[in-house]
């Protein structure tokens, strides 16, 4: 159900001197909505859900990002999804929440290189530099809602729905080529 998009070749999808774009390996993705006392969720996940919108946390191979006041996206290995669901299920009674497996809905591009953040400005109206390395945001890229994870100053992951992937890849490809041509 979390099969890679068949229309994309394996390996880098775009590679220029400005930036490289590749599709990340499939992973488990869980959408968590919860409010009130977060401590029981943090105890199960072993990571902190607090902090401002855009804050991230990691515990082992599980990663979280706060998307809104009561919304998080969790990434984990595909094999770990069932375990996390089972671990959080006992909380339904005492702490009503929503945990939905959206692994099959999304894919991620890894966008890296010396001009990666500049490349993102071509589709994203917000100031990319306000997203600090180690944090992230849900925002818009060329009209499509995406989640940006800034892993380093020059390295991002972009989560997006499968159906938008070819459309966004075209812009990323054109943009990378433009930036690369500029620096010649």
């Amino acid at each position: 159900m979390n099969a890679p998009i068949s229309s994309f070749a394996s390996g880098p999808l775009v590679e220029t001197s400005a930036a490289r774009v590749s599709q990340s390996a499939p992973c488990g993705r869980l959408s968590l909505r919860a409010r009130g006392d977060l401590a029981p969720f943090e105890a199960v996940l072993g990571l902190s859900l607090g902090g401002p919108i855009g804050a991230r946390a990691t515990a082992g191979e599980t990663e979280s990002i706060r998307l809104g006041p009561d919304e998080w996206m969790l990434h984990c290995p595909v094999e770990a999804v069932a375990g996390l669901e089972a671990a959080l299920a006992p909380l339904y009674g005492s702490h009503p929440h929503s945990l939905v497996d959206v692994s099959g809905r999304e894919t991620s591009f890894v966008i890296e290189g010396p001009r990666a953040s500049e490349l993102l400005t071509m589709g994203c109206p917000r100031d990319i530099e306000t997203i600090l390395p180690g944090s992230g945001r849900r925002t818009v890229f060329d009209g499509v809602t995406v989640i940006l994870w800034r892993d380093a100053a020059d390295r991002f992951r972009m989560d997006l729905w499968h159906s938008f992937a070819p459309h966004l890849l075209h812009l990323l490809e054109t943009g990378s080529r433009e930036l690369a041509a500029e620096s010649l």
């Binding site: 006041p69 919304e71 945001r137 849900r138 925002t139 818009v140 809602t145």
Partner: protein, 100 residues
């Protein structure tokens, strides 16, 4: 481009991330079946269409996803303030005072 302050994200962001969602502070009747046709019509359709400071709803669609309220001058397109959904209507005099 219009910049809008999201009270949940506490950031001032491009309008493109937001969606307009109509006039604010319009309470849905608790029991719609007890409401007269005229009152129901007013709830559904009748709006003030203010010229000047307008209390309105916005949603941070490509962001935190939350609805919030704003006061925007419909003549100048300037936002006087934004505030969390459920918060009381801010006093207009204090808002326009701040602009001076």
């Amino acid at each position: 481009m219009l910049l809008i302050h999201c009270p949940y994200c506490n950031e001032t962001l491009p309008e493109v991330e937001f969606a307009y969602a109509g006039e604010a502070h319009i309470a849905r009747p608790v029991n719609p079946s007890e409401v007269s046709d005229a009152d129901w019509e007013a709830f559904l359709f009748l709006r003030d269409n203010v010229k000047g400071p307008h209390y309105e709803r916005w949603r941070h669609l490509h962001g935190c996803g939350r609805f919030f309220n704003a006061v925007r001058d419909t003549v100048s397109d300037k936002f006087l303030t934004t505030y969390e959904a459920g918060a009381p209507r801010p006093d207009l005099a204090s808002l326009t005072e701040r602009l001076k």
